[in-house]
C-alpha cells in the first residue's frame, strides 16, 4: 500500500484515497495542432507507453481530497515515491513541495480551497493563463 501525500492539499492517504491515471506527459497531438495530426502520432498517443523498470512520471488524482490531478515520480521496481508536484509552477512555488517536513501554516492558506474554486471571479488569480504542462 503506497503512502501518498497530495502536493496540493497535503492530504495523506493510500492508494484507496487516490486514483492512478497512467503515465504523465503523454502529448496529445490534436491539442498541439488539430490540423496536423498524423496517424502515427495519434496511434502513439493512444497506445504507446514507456513502461520503464525504474523511475516513471505518473498522473495521480486526489480523489478523496482536493480532486486535483498531480504528477508523481515513482520507481516501478522499489515503488518508492521520488517526487510529487503539481502542474503549475506558480502554484508549486507558493506551496513548499516537501513530503517529509510538516507544512508551515501560512503555506496551507495559499492553496486553493473548494470555496475559491466555485467563485469565478477568483479564478484568474489562482490559475495562470495559457500555461501548458511543464515537462
Amino acid at each position: 500500500m503506497l503512502e501518498i501525500t497530495c502536493p496540493i492539499c497535503h492530504a495523506k492517504g493510500d492508494e484507496i484515497d487516490f486514483t492512478a491515471g497512467g503515465e504523465a506527459y503523454i502529448k496529445r497531438p490534436a491539442t498541439q495542432d488539430p490540423q496536423k495530426v498524423t496517424l502515427h502520432a495519434h496511434y502513439e498517443y493512444l497506445y504507446i507507453r514507456t513502461n520503464p523498470k525504474g523511475p516513471r512520471n505518473e498522473l495521480w488524482h486526489c480523489t478523496r481530497g482536493c480532486s486535483k490531478w498531480f504528477i508523481m515520480k515513482r520507481d516501478t521496481m522499489t515503488l518508492e515515491i521520488i517526487e510529487t508536484k503539481c502542474f503549475d509552477t506558480d502554484l508549486a512555488s507558493e506551496i513548499k513541495l516537501d513530503n517529509k517536513s510538516a507544512i508551515p501554516k501560512q503555506h496551507i492558506k495559499k492553496t486553493p480551497t473548494p470555496s475559491q474554486k466555485t467563485t469565478p471571479s477568483n479564478k484568474p488569480k489562482t490559475k495562470p493563463k495559457k500555461t501548458s504542462k511543464k515537462n
Binding site: M1, L2, E3, D14, T19, G21, R28, P29, A30, T31, P34, Q35, V37, T38, L39, H42, Y45, L46, L59, H61, S67, K68, W69, T78, L79, F87, D88, K117, T118, P120, K123, P124, K127, K129, K130, T131, S132, K133
Partner: protein, 1012 residues
Amino acid sequence: MSAKPYRLHSNLSSDLCGTHVNRNKVCNFTFDGKNYTGFEGDTLASALFANGVRVVGRSFKYHRPRGVLCLGSEEPNALVEVGEKGTHSPNLRATEVNLYDGMVARSQNRWPSVDFDIGHVNDFLSPLFPAGFYYKTFMWPASLWMHYEHIIRRAAGLGTAPTTQDSAFYEHFHQHCDLLVIGGGVAGLVSAYAAAKSGSHVILVDEQAQLGGCSDYFNAQIDDLDHNLWIKMIISELRTLSNCTVLTNTTAVGLYMHRFALLNQIVSHTHQAEGFSPKARLWKVRAKNIILATGALERPLSFANNDRPGVMLSSALRGYLRRYDVVAGQAGAIFTNNDNAYETAFILKEAGVNIKAVIDLRKQIPHVLRKRAESLNIEVFSGYAIVDVKTVSMGKKIDHISIARILQSGRISQLSSLNVDFVGMSGGFNPAVHLFCHVGGKVQFDKKINSFKPKNDIPHITSVGACNGVFSLNNIIKEAFNTGENVAMQASLYKKVTLKKPKKIEASTNSTLAKQWFIPSIRKYNDGAKHFLDFQNDVTIRDIELAVREGYESVEHTKRYTTMGMATDQGKIGNINALGILADSLDIDIEKSLTTTFRPPFTPLPFGTIAGTKAKTLFQAIRQTDIAHWHEKNTIDFEPVGQWRRPYTYRQAHQSRFDSIQEEVKNVRENVGLLDASTLGKIDIKGPDAVTFLNRIYSNSFSNLKVGRCRYGLMLNDNGFIIDDGVTAKLADNHYIVHTTSGGADSIAAMMEFWLQTEWRDLRVFITPVTDQYAQIVIAGPKSRDVLNACSSDIRFGADDFAYMDVKQGHLNGVPARVYRISFSGELSYEIAVPAAYGLSLWNTLLECGRSYDIKPYGTEALHILRAEKGYIVVGDETDGTVIPKDVGLGSMVSKKKPDFIGKHSLLLMDDLNRDNRKQLVGLFTEDPNEVLPDGVHAVNEVKKAPPMKMIGHVTSSYFSPTLKRSIAMALIENGRKRMGERIAFPFDDKIVHARIVDHIFYDKKGERQNV
C-alpha cells in the same frame, strides 16, 4: 486426584512448569464427538496431549495419521474445525486455539473418522502417486476432467466451509505509529522498551496469548536471576507506558509497501459473537519504522517416517512441558544435529519425564553436554541417527525406533532399537524471514546456522534477534537495545533516557551443527520409509528428487510441481530442508540456490476479517432519491442502477410482472405516466470557456445553442467510441447543465476534470456535479400538458409558449423549478427539476393533479420499452465500448466543422473505424411475434448442426412491445443497414429462432407525437 496420564502432577514439576494453565478452572470440550477436559490457559493441542490423544488429523495426500508437531502457528498437521457444524471456523491450528469451556472441535481431511480413514490406502499405493501425479494422469482426455475433479476434491483438501451466515461481526482499525514491533519475544520486547522509553509511539504485537516468546522454555540468568524475572520486569514497564500499545493474540499476517502492516487480532476466543465485541479485528498500521522480531522456527530432520504421531520438534516438547505441564508420551528420545536439543532432554528429565537417549548426528559433542547428560542418566549416541520409526495400530502409535551409527561412507552399522513412544527432533533453526520477504526483502545463506537470514536491504525495516540469525541471548539483548534506541532517535518526540540494561547475562551457547539434509534408512530407500519435508502437503525427499530427474531444477518450478511450501504452511516447516535436498540432488551449493517466494498471509486470514463491517447491508451504500420511501410503499420490484435502487415496475406481490409493465407502457402512450428520474446524472458547467469545453467534450456542436434551449449530445472517448449521452440545456450565457446516464455521472464528471486539469489548462470552466441536489421527475404522455396546466405554476406549458427542446425556469406549486421539454419516450413529455428536498411533494402534487387524467407511475422497464419502440439507444445496451456513432445511426452527430473534439481524430484516421462491414444497429422482428429473444444472443450466417458457426452480431435490447403488440428487438449486425428485410437465424440448444431485419425505429418514425 484426577491427574491425566500425560499431564504431570503439579507437585512433581518445578515452579517453572505449567505456567500457562490454571488448574483450578476445568474446561470441558469435545473433539470428534468425544468428551475431554482441560484447564483454562490450555491450547486445544495441549489439552489433547493431556488426554493422550495423539492422532489429530490425516495428511493431505496419503491420509497418514498425524499428530501435533509444533507449539505455535507453524503447526502443519493439527488443522481443526472449531464450533458447531455450519457456523464453525475451519483450518485453525490446534496449537493456536485457546481452550474454553464448551468448545466443540473436529479433525479434518478424514473419512469416515480420524482413527479409521479409507484414504489411508493411498499410503500403500503411494508408488502410484508421485509428484506431479495429477498433472500426468489427468492431462488426457480433457473431457473427463470434470469427472476426476469431483473425486480429487473429496480426497484431497483441507477443511469444509461453514454453511450458514456468520453471526459474529468484525471490524477494521486504522493506526499510525513511529514504530511497529512484530514479535513479543526477548528481542521484540527489548526493542519496544528501548524505543517507547525514548518517547516513540510504539505498537508491539505478538500472535501468542502471552508475551515473552520462547523465553519460558530455555534456561538463562540475567544479573544472577532467572531471566524470566527480568523479562517480566520489562513487560510490566511496557504496560505502564501510555505511548506503547501492546497487542497479544494478534498476528502480523502481511507486510506491504511503504511500511504498511496488516494485523489480525483475535478478540473473541469462543469463535462466537459475544455481545458488542467483535470476533476479530483487522489492524491496518502505517508505521514510520518496523522492527521484525519474529524469531526462528525449528527445522525437522529428514529421517524415515519422521511424520509419525509422537515425533515432534524438540523445542515444542520443552514448550508443552513448561507451559502446560504436558508430555507427548511415557518414554522419549531426542534426535539432533545441534546443542539446543540437549536443553530439551535436560529440562524434561529434570521434570521427571523418562528421556532414554539423545541421538546426535555429530561425532564431536561439547564436553559439558556429555557430562550433564551422564549425570542425568541420559545415554548419548554420538555419530548416530534414527534410521526408522516403527509403529503399531496402523501408524498411530510409535512402538520403537531403530538407531544406527552413520559411517563416513554414508553406510550404517551397529543397528539397535530403543523402546520409546515419542521423539523430539531438531535440525537447527530457520530465521522466520516470511514478513521480511513479503515486501521484497532478499535473503542470504548463513553457514553458521545452515539457513537463510535477511539481507536487511529495505529502509526503515530492521530484523532483530533470532529472525536476523542472532541466537545468543547476550547478543540479542544488545542488538535490540541498539535498534530500539536508533529508531527512537528518528522520531519527533525523542527524549534521551537511561535504560536499565542488564550487566551480566549467562546463557547456553551453541557450537557448530551437523550439516546433513538426508538421513539414511535401514529399509530400501523410500520403500515404505518416507522422509517427509513438507508435512502439510505430503512432500517427501523422493518427490524433490523426482522433480529434479524430470527437469524441474528451479526452486519455483519444483515448488509448483511438488506442491512444497504451499497452502497455509507457506514453507514454514519444510522449505529449508527441501532447498537443501534440491541443492544436494542438483549437486550444487545451497548458498547459490534461491528460496521460493513467501507470500502473505503468514497465517490464514478469515474472510470475515477481510470484509470487516462492509458486510450484509453495509456492503455498499445505497443512494436514495427523495421519493424512495414512496417507491418502497408502492412496489416490491426494484433493480440496481449504479448505487441506486430504481423501481423496475410498480406492482404488488400478487400482480404479474409482465402485465404490470405492459400496462405502464400503454398508460404512457394513451394517458400520462410519471417517472422518478432523479438518479440521472447532472453536471453544472459554468465559465467563460464553457461552450468551447462542451464543443471539445461532445462530438456534436454546441456553438449555436441559444439560452433556454436543450440539445442532445454524444460523448466519445479519444478512441472514438461512445461512452455517454444525454441532454444539455443552456440556462444562461456561460452556464449549462449537462445530463449524463444514471450510472455514468461520477465517472463523466471525473473525466471532465481530467481533461480540464491535464490537457486544457487554459480553459476557464468550473464543473460541479449536482446529481444529488435536484429531484427530477418525468411526466410523459399525451395528457401531460393537461396535468401541468392543472398545477399552479407561473410557467406556460402551451405548444406556442413552450416548444419541444425548450427549458424554462419558474415555479411549480410555489417551488422553484426548471422544466425541460425533452422526451425519451417519444410522447409529449416534460422533465421537472426541483431542489432535492421538494421531490416527494412535487411527485404527490403531480399524482393529485393527474388523477382525473389517469396518471400512473412507471418503472425502468417501461422506460426501456418506450425508448426501444422509438429506437433510442441506451449507452451500455446498444454500445459496449467498441461502438462508434455511425454504427448506431448517429453519424450526423459527429461534427465535421469542429477542428478538435475528443474522439475526432480516431474516427478520421483509424482504418478499423472506417471499414464497410462494421456491425450496425438494426431492428428485428421475430417470425413468431410472441417469441421474445433473450438479450445478448448471437445471430449466425448459416445454421449448422454443431459449432463453429460464423457469428454476425448480437441482440442488444429485446422486449414485447404493447404498442406494436409483438416482440421487438434491436441488434448490432454486420453490415446490418444494407441487409434490410433479410432473414437471420439465432440457434439455441433446442430450437432455431428466425428474425427479419427492419428499421430500428419501430414507432412514430417522424416524431410527431412528441412535437405536439
